[in-house]
């Protein structure tokens, strides 16, 4: 009897004695909690991704070879390794244009997914003297050896067990690691031009000829430009096009706007799906509780006969709703965690959008919100389903239940 003293005890007994019926209700609650947790986590990860991307893009303009705009976007957005080259002269040209505050260059090539290399990644050589894109985001400085053959790795690049990375048969020490950027830079590896020479020589020795290692000084893959605050960006672009041929200029703001537009569509789909699932789940719970409580009319009438007031009966049903709502909410949360965390990378690749998990406290908040909302759904739907039964005269309820 001890366990019946509370509404919870009576509710638990009712739930246990009708396992299939209870399972259906728990399932509806599970769906709403799962949808809420995964939906909110997904949306927050996308918001966080675009915010971080915007913050870490660094340059206002990105100059690339005319025919390689798409490849350059791939490197930035998806981390798909690419290589393309243009004349280095553009660096000098850009530096002379009025309104250009900073100019730096990068040289792209790739590693291989074979025994010679740790993994297939984008290799980017940068100039530490002029760089304003990579250096500010070195999150974890391991050694000061960047200039002496050390390598800086993106947040998603995993070094070998000895802490080095291997490219074309030679191991290089990791000098630093970048913080997550939610861009292709997370899967890239950065080095000085000097280190690049060693790797290119090794690659050439193994038969992988990106370009003549002796003849690379006149080539770059991209020139990154930061424009001073009051400068006219259109004027700078016009000057660049006027003075150089075979180039394409990517405005990073426009690149981000494009991503935001795509992101907006994805987020609308997420929002709509979330809303629909929540409505379906809530309506299902109300319908289930109504049907089940109507089947239990006689039970409610008996409770009235035994001296339970309308509000006491509501409390009994509320307890059942809370148990089912919170139970289903927790199950949904577990499934949500099992989706969001292990499939994090898969989601990122599928969406092809900047995707970065938010801080853990926000994830905990989404989990709590999911369970809370589902518990509220459970209690509210059980309460609504009981209300009509407690208002009806017991005699009729008893007769209807027989």
């Amino acid at each position: 009897m001890a366990d019946l003293k509370t509404g919870t005890g009576f509710g638990l007994k009712n739930i246990r004695k009708r396992p299939y019926r209870s399972l259906c209700l728990v399932l509806a609650a599970t769906i709403s909690s799962y949808a809420l947790f995964t939906g909110l986590s997904l949306k927050a990860s996308l918001d966080n991704g675009i915010e971080r991307m915007q913050e870490r893009m660094g340059a206002d303009l990105m100059v690339v070879p005319e025919e390689s705009e798409a490849d350059a976007r791939n490197v930035l957005l998806t981390g798909e390794p690419e290589f393309f080259y243009m004349d280095r002269e553009i660096v000098e040209t850009a530096g002379k244009i009025e309104g250009v505050e900073l100019v730096t260059e990068q040289f792209y090539f790739t590693s291989l997914s074979s025994d010679c290399c740790s993994t297939r990644v984008q290799l980017i050589a940068y100039d530490p003297d002029s760089d304003f894109v990579i250096t500010p985001w070195i999150d974890e400085k391991i050694t000061d050896e960047v200039s002496k053959g050390g390598i800086v790795i993106g947040s998603e690049v995993t070094p070998l067990s000895d802490g080095n990375v291997k490219f074309y048969g030679t191991e290089y020490p990791v000098a630093g690691k970048l913080g997550a950027t939610a861009t292709g830079l997370d899967q890239s590896v950065f080095m000085t031009r000097e280190t690049m020479h060693f790797i290119l020589e090794d690659a050439s020795a193994k038969g992988y000829q990106f370009l003549n290692p002796e003849d690379d000084s006149g080539l770059v893959s991209t020139v990154l430009i930061r424009v001073s605050g009051d400068a006219d960006i259109t004027f700078i672009e016009k000057e660049l096009y006027r003075n150089s041929s075979g180039i394409r200029i990517i405005e990073t703001d426009k690149l981000i706007d494009d991503v935001k537009t795509k992101l907006g569509s994805v987020q609308n789909v997420i929002k709509l799906t979330l809303l629909v699932l929540l409505i379906i789940s809530f309506v299902t719970m109300i319908l289930f509780f109504s049907v089940i409580f109507h089947e239990r009319k006689k039970e409610f009438a008996v409770l009235r006969i035994l001296g339970a007031s309308g509000s006491r009966i509501c409390r009994f049903s509320l307890a059942e709703g809370i148990i089912i709502g919170s139970g289903g909410g927790l199950v949904g949360l577990v499934f949500g965690i099992l989706t969001v965390f292990p499939f994090n990378k898969y989601i990122e690749y599928s969406l092809e959008l900047p995707y970065l998990m938010p801080e853990i406290r926000l994830i905990v908040l989404f989990g709590a919100l999911g369970v809370l909302v589902t518990t509220a759904f459970g209690s509210l739907s059980s309460f609504l389903a009981t209300l009509s039964l407690t208002r009806a005269e017991t005699y009729y309820t008893m007769r209807a239940g027989e």
């Binding site: 019946l4 003293k5 004695k17 006969i305 035994l306 309308g310 509000s311 005269e393 027989e402």
Partner: protein, 222 residues
Amino acid sequence: MSLLKTEALVKEYKRRGKTFRAVDLTDLQIEPGEFVMIEGESGSGKTTLLNLLTGLTEPTSGKVYIDGISLSDMSDREISEVRNRKVKYIPQGDSLLTNLTIRENILFPYVISGHKPPSEERLKAVASSLGIEELLDEYPAELSGGEMRRATIARAFIDSPELIIADEPTGSLDSLNTSRVMSIFRQIADNGTAVIVVTHQKETLGFASRVLKMELGKLSPV
């Protein structure tokens, strides 16, 4: 002051647009320790009357007083308390909670009120008097109709209410158990609890201290 008193009690229903008077009583008074039996044909208004007396149905007009207080002046919570403590109602048919054991069913009114349940000895004594002592840990689905009926009666007998109202309590019982239950009602009445029993079994009328007949919603002495 009477334990139960009615005052011009009327209950009307509408059937196919026509008003039908199910109960139309002049005053009825029940004193402590009285054992009143009500007989009457099906549809004469007996069950409706019992529902009115227990506050489960609201009268169209008139009043029901318990210990001098009108049910219509009480809140739902107060009427519920009356049903939980003072007036025990044994409805027609099976009224056990199917998810609870017989023991839990008998003691469930205490779960509702939050009052201390009676001792195990008291529970076993009541169960034993009704021949269901061995069934206390069974669920209703495992019991026969007669056993369920006796368990329902045990739930009303377990404490000492001021009034027990029973609607055909022995309907599904054999003659031995009918006699056993009626003897217990008699004993309870002798101990000061008022008892109102609706019955179709004329052979049980001898247990009552007063017999009333119900016809077309009206009560008359037999």
